[in-house]
């Protein structure tokens, strides 16, 4: 090995490999740390989630309900509105449905203070499929067809079910991603009602 060292001395070289190796190791070490701590799998948060719409007027989108009537969200001002996005083929929506039925019944007992429930149906359900869904599972609230996905995009809903709470001034108050249960939904609406009453 002395000849190699001799060459090194002759050409006046200083050792650089350890330093370069160390620098590369530092970079790769941080990459390793990022990879080791990253969560695997899709980690979409469920429950109360943020939305650019919160505190802003609900989008003025128009649609047609399953029984052919025109639906316009801005016409619903004056009462609390709960908008539920669903699809008759989605499994969590099926699981969520009884909670919505219970919630609707509970709200009707409140009279004029009760929230109105509307459902927005994600394509590609046909009116017949929606009828069958409700006939089998109960519930009787207006279902808006969203064949062009206007509501989906306006509310930023990528995956059903999702639920929005809108106050009597037409301001979006809350967004819930994933299936919700009737008690939580009623509590959240009541909570918003109390805040609204203080203003």
């Amino acid at each position: 090995m002395s000849d190699v060292e001799a060459v090194e001395v002759a050409s006046g070289r200083r050792p650089v490999a350890p330093f370069i190796a160390l620098a590369v190791a530092l970079v790769l070490g941080s990459l390793f740390w990022v990879l080791a701590t990253s969560k695997s799998g899709p980690t979409d948060t469920l429950g109360l989630v943020d939305s650019p719409l919160i505190g802003k007027p609900a989008p003025a989108v128009r649609g047609t309900t399953a029984d052919g009537a025109t639906f316009e969200l801005s016409r619903r001002k004056g009462s609390w509105v709960v908008v539920n996005f669903f699809n008759s083929r989605c499994v969590p929506c099926k699981a969520e449905h009884p909670a919505l039925v219970a919630f609707e019944q509970q709200q009707t007992t409140l009279g004029a203070d009760g929230a109105e429930l509307y459902a927005i149906d994600q394509p590609p359900d046909s009116p017949a499929e929606i009828m069958a869904f409700f006939a089998e599972r109960g519930g009787n609230w207006p279902v808006v067809l969203d064949d062009d996905g206007l509501f989906n995009v306006a509310f930023g809903v990528a995956q059903v079910p999702e639920t929005f709470i809108i106050d009597p001034d037409g301001i979006v108050r809350m967004r819930w991603a994933g299936a919700i249960d009737s008690v939580t939904l009623a509590l959240l609406v009541q909570q918003q009602r109390d805040i609204y009453g203080l203003q």
Binding site: R13, V16, L28, F32, S38, K39, S40, G41
Partner: protein, 659 residues
């Protein structure tokens, strides 16, 4: 019941035997090298054959389980079904994580056995010995994966046929390319283990000579060729199956295959500088280490679920092990390089940036930068998530923006480098050698403008491609004029054929990405529309059923000719729609038809989408040329490693004096 339990038992036994054999093989070899014991070395060969036997056995048993529908095995329940056609039932082996590890293992064991057999007379040589030790350890690691974290032979619960046993993912059971793309890609991935093993051996033994390079050059080339073909086939598959008319989407899994390709490409160029001038030794070792660790990292990224990708297999426990392996490989290699690096450095110098070695150096810097940018983009969402806990995406617009300038400069280098002599070039020499290639570029540009091409980036791509093509053809013409057909053989000339293939792919990509026209039509049966100079007539809209699918197809006559039938099939077991595009191919352009959801055979309404994509077929022609060129390059050409060869003629004395 006995026969069914047998498969699981046999599979586990084969894996345990293979694991033990590769581990003992490695340990025996280390002991033999340390002690210089010739008798001990003789015991290594049987271990290698036993490991190969274990891997072959495991794959055969799994195939047997798939073919005989052995529902005792959880894996067969997952990817098998009663009515999968024989071909897709065979390929179901690699349609999920566990089986794909078995395939990887098989190829690795085959490579190890070939290396062992080929160098059987030289196992006592520490360099070969250590290389084989590394291969044994890597094999043992994959045996371990197949035994523990991804156990393919795990016994399943009693199958409930209403919920399970649906067969492989619909995308993996509707095109014959599933038989070719994954194994060929894996041959490339796994093949880079061989040069990596020799690189580690060179570091361990401190053997600085060029000997190990000669041993591994052809292996690296072999792996590179398979990786290239595998990637091109993947693009073809995507084009034929996914129905959006594209070949490459910068998906993390695609990036994972592209990263080792880039570093591998850098290596097969820079290794020539080392052979010629004895320089860049540490750099070459690092490139091999990088290539191998990127295959492991890529497997981790795509098999652990940390990045989202359509290709990714479902969550599993394999992630930490692969990440650990990546860490160990990087740590060991960096440690060895830090320890040996300065000793390996060569005393030579590159005389001028305008020289063949200067061009190789520039090419290496660019390819390494390219790989770095793609790795950064691929893991960047994870970095942001680790820092701020919010989700972002980095996708094709970013990668397109970044790869365009790098690709253009690489094309330019491909044009100039073949004309550059080693050591030093004069302006006059370049003016002379590059004259006709440059006019090729100008001619290509003029032709493409004449044919209606627009926009700066594709026009530059065509110009440089013509330039580079001219340079490659010039080299081939000179070589064949001198040596006849043998002028096509060997590294330099075969490499020029590969260059031509890559250039054709670059042109086809630039043209098909920049000048695609598309439109969507909703038409009734019998109706005709015209678009981009072609007419499309809907002849019929039909329902069809196969044992596994229900679907709709439309028969569409293009320009009054033969009917093309794009379809959508719903795989009933999965409830998943799989489009089947129909393509009219020609050398000039492809007419790519897809049927969209919302078509109704009952009313004769068809929703079709038409893409007119220029030059797509040249992607596959270019890929074939790359494979062919790699073969030519692997043949021994005229022996050019002589110091007296004209291309490395000494610098004239007066120039030396002026240095």
């Amino acid at each position: 019941m006995l026969a069914e339990g047998l498969n699981g038992l046999l599979g586990h036994t084969a894996l345990i035997v293979g694991f033990a054999a590769s581990l003992f093989g490695a340990l025996a070899l280390i002991a033999a090298i340390r002690l210089g014991n010739a008798r001990l070395i003789k015991t290594v060969m049987p271990y290698g054959w036993l490991a190969l036997g274990g891997a072959v056995m495991a794959v055969v048993v799994m195939e047997r389980g798939l073919i005989t529908r052995d529902w005792q095995l959880a894996y067969v329940q997952r990817v098998g079904s009663r009515d999968t056609p024989a071909l897709f039932n065979f390929t179901a082996l690699w349609s999920a994580l566990e089986g794909s590890i078995l395939l990887w293992l098989l190829l690795l064991a085959v490579y190890t056995a070939i290396i062992m057999h080929r160098y059987r007379a030289r196992l006592a040589d520490p360099l070969v010995g250590w290389a084989l030790v590394v291969m044994f350890f890597v094999t043992a690691f994959f045996f371990f994966l197949a035994l523990g974290p991804t156990d393919a032979f795990r016994a399943g619960v009693t199958p409930d046929f209403t919920a399970c046993c649906k067969g492989p993912n619909p995308l993996l059971q509707n095109h014959v390319l599933v038989l070719f793309h994954p194994p060929i890609l894996y041959l490339g991935y796994v093949g880079f283990t061989v040069p990596f093993a020799f690189a580690i051996a060179a570091l361990v033994t401190g053997r600085v000579g060029e000997g190990w390079l000669v041993e591994t050059r052809r292996w690296a080339l072999f792996a590179w060729g398979f990786l290239t073909v595998g990637i091109v086939l993947g693009g073809w598959w995507s084009y034929e199956v996914l129905g959006w008319g594209g070949v490459w989407g910068w998906d993390p899994v695609e990036n994972a295959s592209f990263l080792p390709w880039l570093t591998g490409t850098a290596y097969i160029h820079s290794v020539m500088v080392q052979e010629r001038r004895g320089m860049l030794r540490v750099w070459n070792l690092s490139l091999l280490v990088a290539t191998f660790s990127l295959t492991i990292l890529g497997t981790f990224l795509t098999r652990s679920g940390v990045v989202n990708s359509v290709h990714a297999f479902s969550d599993s426990t394999i992630g930490p092990f692969l990440l650990g392996a990546f860490g160990v490989v990087v740590l060991v290699s960096l440690g060895l390089i830090a320890w040996r690096g300065d000793r390996l450095r060569s005393p030579g110098a590159i005389d001028s940036p305008i020289s063949r070695e200067g061009a190789f150096l520039a090419n290496n810097v660019l390819l390494a930068l390219f790989a770095f940018v793609i790795l950064l983009g691929t893991v960047f969402p994870l970095i942001v998530e680790a820092k701020d806990n919010r989700k972002i995406a980095v996708g094709s617009p970013f990668f397109d923006t970044m790869s365009q300038p790098i690709g253009l400069v690489l094309l330019f280098l491909m044009a100039v480098a073949p004309a550059l002599p080693w050591r030093k070039a004069s302006g006059e020499l370049l003016r002379d050698r590059l004259f006709w290639p440059a006019w090729c570029g100008a001619g290509t540009l003029a032709l493409s403008v004449f044919l209606g091409a627009t926009d700066l980036a594709p026009l530059l791509a065509f110009t440089f491609a013509g330039f580079a093509g001219g340079a490659a053809i010039r080299q081939l013409v000179l070589a064949t004029r001198r040596q006849g057909y043998r002028g096509l053989l060997g590294r330099t000339n075969g490499g020029m054929v590969v260059h031509l293939g890559v250039i054709i792919i670059a042109v086809a990509l630039a043209a098909s990405n920049s000048y695609t026209r598309s439109a969507e039509f909703t038409m009734m049966k019998g109706e005709t529309v015209s678009f981009a100079g072609h007419t499309f007539k809907v002849l019929d809209v039909l329902d069809f059923t196969t044992p596994r699918t229900v679907g709709i197809k439309a028969e569409i006559s293009i320009d009054g000719g033969q009917a093309y039938a794009p379809a959508i099939s719903k795989y009933t077991a999965f409830g998943m729609d799989v489009p089947t595009p129909s393509v009219k191919t020609s050398l000039v352009q492809d007419i790519y038809l897809t049927l969209e959801n919302g078509s109704k055979p009952s009313t004769g309404e068809a929703k079709i989408k038409v893409f007119i994509k220029p030059m797509v077929v040249w992607l596959w022609i270019g890929g074939t040329l790359c494979a062919f060129g790699t073969l030519l390059a692997a043949f021994p050409g005229k022996n050019r490693r002589r110091p007296t060869d004209a291309v490395s003629a000494p610098i004239p004395l007066d120039e030396v004096a002026s240095v």
